[in-house]
Symmetry: C2
Subunit: 596 residues, 2 copies
């Protein structure tokens, strides 16, 4: 069996050299994130991921969560792993210290979360949803709601859920129909059905806190009439213990392609008189609150792409070193381990280089998020927030699309064994397949990117980012050797392609709204590839400086070679994608629907 | 529930206008393939696929084949469907009339097989393997073997299998260890274990004929010492009925990612004294015979890619027209069917255009196979055979890789529902995932393509094919209008990229064998994309001529728009792929194994 091993080397390098963890630790409120603390956190998290989560990943997939009579039984080992998880204090590491959290910066939390996701994506969804619910209550809840719910949720003894989707309203929340009827005592009665509710029911904790979107009786139509409610499974007693069972029940769970251990619930609210709920913030502001949570959730799902890619790479690498088959192409020796075959090599490098590029971009965005939240200078906060807003759909869309491809390469490297479920490689592909769908499909991310994040501001932020990329391009040009020549050539073409495509979008968005939107996903992909290349190029420059300073760690030449591979095999796609963005609108829309 | 509907319009168009079915019908031996007969065959096959195979595709996946005590029980409905399948005479439509086959040309058989594969890939594997076994016996078996086995197998009342793989020998047949001990009476006793044996056991027929690779006692090492044997499950009596049970048993079946209804068997030969087998052809020539079957099987697996792509497209299109969500981007009306959203459109067109390009290329290759086999002119036979040999790895590798991507797009179009197994979209992705692995992985196809099919002859055949493509390019340049300008531009760049990459490979193959092989799969992909573009361009030219001649069938403008889409969204990848082929070798091989 393959056990997950946290890529601590690369994580430390990215945190230190690319994401600037030392600068983050100087921000007010993050003083606790000293190098020693962060090192200790990552090391312990790695041990927990390998020792507690990785061993139940395959068995959890095989067994799956089981529904019976409104209850959900988790696969063997999950309850115990969760108990350890919260006992070790992992649940609240990114939460406010005021309510028991550790207040670690997002960039540190990102590295830790990557480990949970890589070792056991199905498990990791439970704390992920709880974190989202905590954030919504922290930002918008009344002092009473905070006092009642946050300590338990941050500790992890109560978990949280997000109830948005209804059968008739997938990604379009304007169609939400669930009702919230005020009771005159400050509480509401909630009625409605929600679907796709992750960890809507389970047996790991004594209570579950549902955050539910619903409409009050006089609410306006559409998204302006949606309010957010806290609906606990058990209504808390005055002493904080779970009391009366609320009218919120899991009526079934889905039979899914992947993440079998994560119960995806159909939730019925109010089938027996109404589920008691408490308003979060103000009426009709629910969507705004949800958007805040959604940004965090989108980033986190992007990290799932990074994580699955790395996990699939680790397993494929192990297999490629062990599996003996075929002869060495150059000298005819053998049979040899399949890692000697150039195409297996190519696939491994494609997995490795993209996983590293995605990790680097995600952590850099997380660090910018920390600066946007905590920097003392308002201008810096604003600049960082604009960068985060621009990049969230890229981290989400690109990392998840690439994560699926990388997981599929992992299957391919295993050959026939990859198709056999016992091998474990196929699980990553099945698990990864949801990541481009939930928390907004890639299409939705891409529309957000080209619309709200580029066209609306005339491309100002992306132009600034391209400007920074060009400084890196100039630094690459000053490095000696073939590797840097190749990296420079690939990155230069990538920047040019990105700039052309971005200009095209900003210029034509209003005149040809549908044609431009045809290119949204190709553009997102282009931007992901080039942004990942930017971070890899920065990494290669640091590596080169380390080597020049006499550092003999083989990590550095490996990083340069990996970057070169990325330039030749991934950045090479940039020009074609730009062409598709710029020219591909008309052909896509020409055929009448009835002739498709 | 979505029911498969054979794409008869496109099939007829490709057969008539691109694959030249009328010319094929003029070849000696194919006179039966008159337009009326072919029309009738396709229509009836379409009805059988929709009526008998499509309805048991989802249930067969859900139920799966079940192993018990050396026996395999097929999912409900499979036995009855198979009975109808052979009663209707479908099993032998491509086989020799001498033994009861209909002797239809491969190009017709390809269209029919596409329907079986699209409506029920798991079912289709049974006749596919039988066909391979029939071919091996037809080409190399003794008159006695032919008389005993061919009539039953062609009729379909006995099925066939191919037993190549052993646990220690996946794609590397030099490692085969199964033994064949001559008994002095002309028969052999076979001992050994084989894995991944498709339909190695099932309950649909009274007998199963295994073709088994094994070594005789004095056989040389490696692939030159492999012989091929017929090993029936039941030894035929003198009257042709199945007699004594042979010592060949299914000891387990695999739990797989997809094709759950197709039993993938571990076969034990000779656990109780030896399985009685009969030599096919000569000793030590087994690999040669297998290669003939493998070419046919590789083509057939390529067709699986075409078929799954089309099936996934049909289902996604249906869903995209029905599912109401979101507003029209241009006029704000709605909620609208999601097909109105540009990104859904883009994905549907990506599915449609690639399915059509792959179908066209596959049928054209099938027609060339017919000419290679039946053309009266020896030069024509040779020329066609060279084209077929060049293109088999492309049809196999490109169509299957693309088939997986298209199936994944189908899941994406379904959004959250795509991840729910009951929807059915995920099954295509799971089923398709094996196609890039079995019958030789994409890496193996690509190595075959650049080595045996290009470098060995200095690129002669591919240069000739590029010459023919250039004639099409010139014809495109003469067409008026924006669509053809875009098609011409995309195809021109594609040809140029292909020519550059092919020249690079032919030139550098020997000096830099590993570096060139790093580019093998990117080159295969490039060649697939450009070859598909070539067929789409031919199709667009025919469509344009029909329109000019006053034909008002909307199929024709749709084909032109689809080709334009393909040029902007698929052919646009060609230059980047060529760059990867030409420059990507060094970076892939630079990192020492222990630092990966």
């Amino acid at each position: 069996m393959s056990t997950y091993s946290a890529p601590l080397n690369d994580m430390h390098f990215v945190l230190r050299e690319l994401a600037g963890i030392e600068q983050v630790a100087k921000l007010p409120g993050y003083e606790e994130a000293s190098p020693d603390t962060v090192d200790a956190i990552l090391e312990e998290a790695g041990k927990f991921a390998s020792g507690a989560l990785s061993p139940i990943n395959g068995s959890g997939d095989h067994e799956g969560a089981k529904w019976h009579d409104s209850n959900v039984t988790m696969p063997q080992g999950f309850k115990e792993a969760y108990r350890q998880f919260i006992e070790n204090g992992w649940n609240g590491i990114g939460c406010e210290p005021e309510f028991g959290g550790q207040g670690m910066p997002k960039v540190v939390v990102a590295a830790v979360q990557e480990m949970w996701k890589a070792s056991n994506m199905a498990f990791s969804l439970c704390p992920l949803l709880t974190t989202g619910a905590i954030e919504a209550i922290t930002l918008n809840g009344s002092p009473g709601l905070k006092a009642t719910y946050l300590p338990k949720m941050i500790e992890g003894s109560w978990t949280g859920t997000m109830n948005l989707t209804e059968p008739q309203a997938g990604s379009d929340l304007s169609l939400v129909r669930s009702r919230a009827v005020p009771q005159g005592d400050g509480s509401y009665r909630i009625f409605g059905q929600k679907i796709f509710i992750t960890y809507g029911e389970h047996d790991m904790t004594e209570n579950i806190i549902h955050l539910v979107l619903a409409r009050t009786p006089d609410a306006p139509e559409g998204v302006k009439g949606i309010s957010l409610f806290v609906v606990p499974k058990f209504l808390p007693n005055a002493d904080g213990t779970p009391g009366q069972r609320n009218d919120a029940r899991c009526v079934s769970i889905e039979h899914k392609l992947g993440i079998h251990a994560s119960p995806t619930c159909v939730m019925a609210f109010g089938d027996n008189g109404g589920a008691i709920g408490y308003l979060v913030g103000k009426e009709n502001e629910g969507l705004k609150y949800m958007f805040v949570m959604m940004n965090a959730a989108r980033f986190a799902v992007g990290l799932e792409g990074v994580a699955i890619a790395d996990r699939a790479y680790q397993r494929a690498l192990e297999y490629a070193k062990e599996r003996i088959q075929g002869r060495d192409l150059a000298d005819g020796s053998g049979p040899v381990p399949i890692i000697r075959h150039p195409d297996i090599r190519r696939m491994l490098m494609l997995m490795k280089s993209q996983a590293e590029a995605m990790r680097a971009l995600a952590y850099v965005v997380a660090a910018a998020h920390d600066a946007a939240a905590h920097h003392p200078d308002g201008e810096e906060r604003k600049r960082n927030q604009a960068f985060v807003d621009l990049m969230i759909p890229v981290v989400k869309g690109w990392s998840t699309e690439t994560g699926i491809e990388v997981a599929s390469l992992g299957v391919q490297i295993h050959g026939g064994m990859g198709f056999i479920e016992e091998t474990g490689a196929a699980q990553y592909l099945r698990d990864a397949r949801i990541t481009t769908i939930y928390e907004g499909t890639t299409g939705i991310q891409a529309n957000d990117l080209i619309g709200r994040k580029i066209a609306r501001e005339g491309g100002a932020t992306i132009k600034a980012v391209i400007g920074i990329m060009k400084q890196v391009e100039a630094a690459l040009a000053r490095q000696p050797g073939e590797d840097f020549a190749a990296i420079h050539a690939g990155f230069s073409r990538g920047i040019q392609a990105l700039a052309e495509a971005a200009t095209y979008i900003a210029t034509n968005f209003s005149q040809d709204i549908k044609g431009v939107h045809v290119g949204a996903v190709p553009f997102l992909r282009l931007m992901g590839i080039v942004s990942g290349g930017w971070q890899m190029a920065r990494a290669a420059l640091v590596a080169q400086a380390k080597i020049a300073a006499g550092d003999g760690d083989p990590y550095y030449p490996t990083k340069i070679a990996t970057t070169r591979f990325y330039a030749d095999h991934v950045l090479s796609q940039a020009s074609g994608l730009a062409q598709t963005v710029i020219k591909g609108g008309a052909g896509a829309l020409a055929v009448a629907e009835e002739h498709l």
